[in-house]
């Protein structure tokens, strides 16, 4: 059978295919995005991008009730959005299996917080599996469906960035040919009114007890006896780090199911050990369980609660060893991420900076507007918060604030949860200015379609949300569209809308410069003899422009000819075409 080097995320998708899953609905979010992208490549799976994670989980819930194995994926913060259906689906259970993929981001490679989703499994009383490499991603995905159907429960599959975005070898297996299960109307099971939910809660508690028994005997939790007096309990990628650092010098209890945790198995493992480490990134989840069992362990008293671990962490803290290495003695300049050359957000943020307005920010590529030299952002909380937080800011600070504050939100983020916030502005009347940065794609996560783009995840044409009409429909009568490459127009519209005595929406519209259909214009160049080295062009923070020998220089390999810098030059030294 074929084998391939798959990302953990691609391996989960392979698992969905092999498990006979029929319906997948997700919202993109790093590091979970590629699961659904890879799943969409299998014709047998219906896949979609939902507007947000709550919708995605509800679609998967309906599909599972309807008799099809279903799946939804999200990043850790997406699970917050979907927490409402999560807790009640725990009571309802399933007809065909339902699995929820959630990817945590220890170290915050691409996230706004570092929450530990294992706490959700405990809070919602749902079983959670955690694979440690790509093959386990596939295997655990399939196992999750068996558990889901056997124990009548959704199952959470938890990944972390290092598992989701690492490749390892996976051998392919056949797809299970599963018929659609019969749907039978069952009001006490599927309608969560108090009278029906009360007995379900009792069942959920009983289910957890049964799962603890299952965890005791399943080979998903592995006991590796190396005859040592020191033991390590770990799960996921941290197990791999421990193996790398400590090899065969300790005994291991590798947990594949992180909720519910086994009891007797841990007692058996701890017996005869002189020292027992619980090594886990983020919260003291397994450690707390051990302490509750009365088993003394070394956990967060030694290991950090923040950030990502590696073999280095374990080597240093357990063995007190460090690898020899060389390094340069000098301090090197940092290289933070930046908006790309030709990014349509740049012009808009430059105008916001010049107008010195309060900018209520949101989640997307444009959060980079907070970075120097633009530094044009005041807050960024979570998906959709820019619009509602602006409304709150304006209600708190009154009319003066309304004249100098805006919200910025991308097209996909607006569809995610920004729309209901705009309804609040319209309904509760603040003179707030909402700027929708419509770059015709979901950018930061790597170009996913969304309800405004007119295409589905599989690339098929579909209806597209008419943003102008939508904003008018909720009660905003001032809706203006501008091209963010046109700095003069952006500034003029911004001033007009800030001055207006009613709420308004500005749609800053231009497709992402990295989209395949967007053709780059010829690179611009600086006529050195006219350049006076005033650095005016550098204020926009374009990665194509650098400063050499007291003159601005444009890198022809990077420049896409957007022209935003042209208008900033007092000497008209930036010109089109090649020399």
């Amino acid at each position: 059978m074929k084998k391939d080097l798959l990302l953990g995320n691609e391996a989960v998708a392979r698992g969905l295919y092999e498990a006979g899953v029929r319906v997948v609905s997700s919202y993109p979010g790093t590091p979970s995005t590629e699961i659904t992208e890879a799943a969409a490549k299998y014709d047998e799976l219906y896949c979609e991008w939902a507007p947000n994670e709550k919708v995605a989980m509800e679609v998967a819930s309906g599909a599972a009730i309807g008799g099809a194995r279903s799946f939804c994926a999200m990043k850790h913060v997406g699970l917050n959005v979907a927490a409402d259906p999560l807790f009640t689906m725990s009571y309802i259970g399933v007809n065909a299996g339902m699995v929820i993929g959630v990817a945590d981001d220890p170290g915050m490679h691409s996230s706004q917080n570092e929450q530990d989703s294992r706490n959700y499994a405990k809070a919602a009383k749902l079983p959670m599996l955690e694979p440690s490499d790509s093959r386990e991603c596939r295997d655990f995905t399939k196992l999750a469906y068996q558990l889901s159907e056997e124990y009548d429960t959704p199952v959470i599959l938890r990944l972390t960035t290092r598992v989701a975005h690492s490749r390892s070898i996976v051998d392919f297996q056949e797809r299970a040919d599963l018929p659609l299960r019969e749907y039978k109307k069952d009001i006490p099971k599927n309608v969560m009114l108090p009278a029906f939910a009360r007995p379900k809660h009792v069942k959920v508690e009983e289910r957890t007890e049964k799962l603890i028994q299952w965890a005791q005997g399943s080979d998903i939790n592995q006991f590796e006896d190396n005859g040592a007096k020191v033991g390590v309990i770990a799960a996921g990628t941290v197990y791999q780090y421990a193996k790398e650092a400590l090899g065969g010098s300790v005994n291991y209890l590798k947990l594949g199911m992180v909720y519910p945790l086994p009891e007797q198995l841990i007692r058996d493992f701890a017996k005869n050990l002189e020292k027992l480490y619980v090594i886990e990134e983020l919260d003291d989840f397994i450690e707390t369980h051990c302490l509750k069992l009365g088993i003394p362990v070394i956990g967060k008293s030694l290991f950090p609660k923040c950030g990502e671990y590696s073999q280095k962490t374990i080597r240093a803290l357990v063995l007190g060893e460090e690898k020899q290495s060389v390094s340069l003695d000098s301090d090197l300049p940092m290289r933070p991420p930046v908006m790309c050359s030709g990014c349509p957000h740049r012009g808009l943020f430059y105008a916001l900076k010049k107008e010195r307005v309060f900018v209520s920010g949101d989640i997307g590529c444009y959060t980079l507007g907070a970075s120097a030299p633009l530094s044009a952002m005041d807050t960024c909380i979570c998906m959709g918060a820019s619009v509602s937080a602006l409304h709150g800011y304006n209600k708190a600070r009154g009319a003066e604030a309304e004249k100098s504050a805006v919200a910025v939100i991308g097209d996909s983020t607006f569809m995610h949860t920004g729309l209901s916030s705009l309804v609040d502005i319209a309904y509760n009347r603040s003179n707030s200015v909402t700027i929708i940065l419509d770059n015709s794609i979901t950018g930061m996560t790597g170009h996913q379609q969304n309800p405004t783009t007119g295409y589905t995840i599989k690339g098929d044409p579909t209806s597209a949300v008419d943003l102008e009409a939508l904003c008018r429909a909720v009660g905003i009568s001032r809706v203006t569209v501008v091209d963010p490459y046109d700095l003069k127009a952006v500034t003029r519209v911004l001033r007009e809308e800030l001055a207006a005595e009613e709420p308004s929406v500005i749609i800053s519209r231009r497709p992402c410069a990295l989209l395949k259909y967007v053709e780059a214009k010829p690179a611009l160049r600086v006529e050195a003899e006219r350049c006076i080295g005033c650095r005016a062009c550098m204020g926009i923070g374009c990665p194509s422009i650098s400063f050499r020998d007291k003159k601005a220089v444009i890198d022809a390999n990077q420049c896409v000819g957007c022209g935003v810098c042209e208008g900033l030059c007092p000497k008209k030294a930036i010109v089109g075409g090649v020399e």
């Binding site: 790093t30 290495s325 000098s330 991420p337 790309c340 550098m538």
Partner: protein
């Protein structure tokens, strides 16, 4: 069992380091090794400093490489080579693309791009294989093939034979750019 070897690919988001690590991983898998490749997605891809880990051997556990563990660093850019130098094992080598891409703090003038990095790295006793990958890529037909040029150069440092590498390139690049990439690989490999 063969000890695990570690290769680090570093560069600037957008330079194509991910394709580079995929080619490497495929070649190592074809050679019968256990392989793990760890990638960076999301925010850092936007022109930030990016690092990709490639590990192969009899049985690979951790997908990441830490300070003092890399046998080879393939650097797509000078400043990034310097930044991740501490990941190199004593006695390790660097394949150094001499391209210079100014990071934003240099562009805004808050700091300067360090001069003479290649020399400073050599002074630390590191074996440096320096090449102008951008010019070679342009010679192959596109500045975008910098990644394949550098993978070609790094391939020479492994004990995997050239045919296996070429098959891996074939598997990873679109058909319409195959010839260009084969040329780029050959220029990096040095024949």
């Amino acid at each position: 069992m063969m000890e695990t070897k570690s290769l680090l690919i570093v560069g600037v988001g957008g330079q194509g380091t991910l394709l580079g690590s995929r080619i490497m991983g495929k070649a190592m898998m074809a050679e019968g090794y256990d392989v793990k490749v760890s990638e960076v997605h999301g925010m850092s891809q936007r022109g930030g400093s990016v690092i990709t880990y490639v590990r192969y051997g009899g049985k690979v556990y951790s997908p990441v490489i830490e300070a003092g563990e890399a046998d080879v660093i393939v650097a797509f850019e000078q400043l990034e080579a310097a930044r991740y130098l501490s990941f190199l094992k004593p006695g390790g080598s660097i394949v150094l693309g001499v391209q210079r891409i100014d990071p934003m703090p240099v562009i805004t003038g808050s700091t300067a791009y360090p001069e003479g990095l290649s020399g400073s790295i050599r002074e630390k006793g590191v074996k440096v294989l320096e090449l102008d990958a951008l010019s070679l890529a342009e010679k192959a037909g596109s500045s975008k093939a910098v990644n394949v040029v550098l993978i070609g150069a790094a391939a020479k440092l492994t004990d995997i034979n050239k045919e296996v590498w070429l098959d891996a390139v074939k598997e990873c690049v679109p058909l319409k750019f195959l010839e260009l990439n084969m040329k780029a690989f050959a220029l990096g490999y040095g024949d």
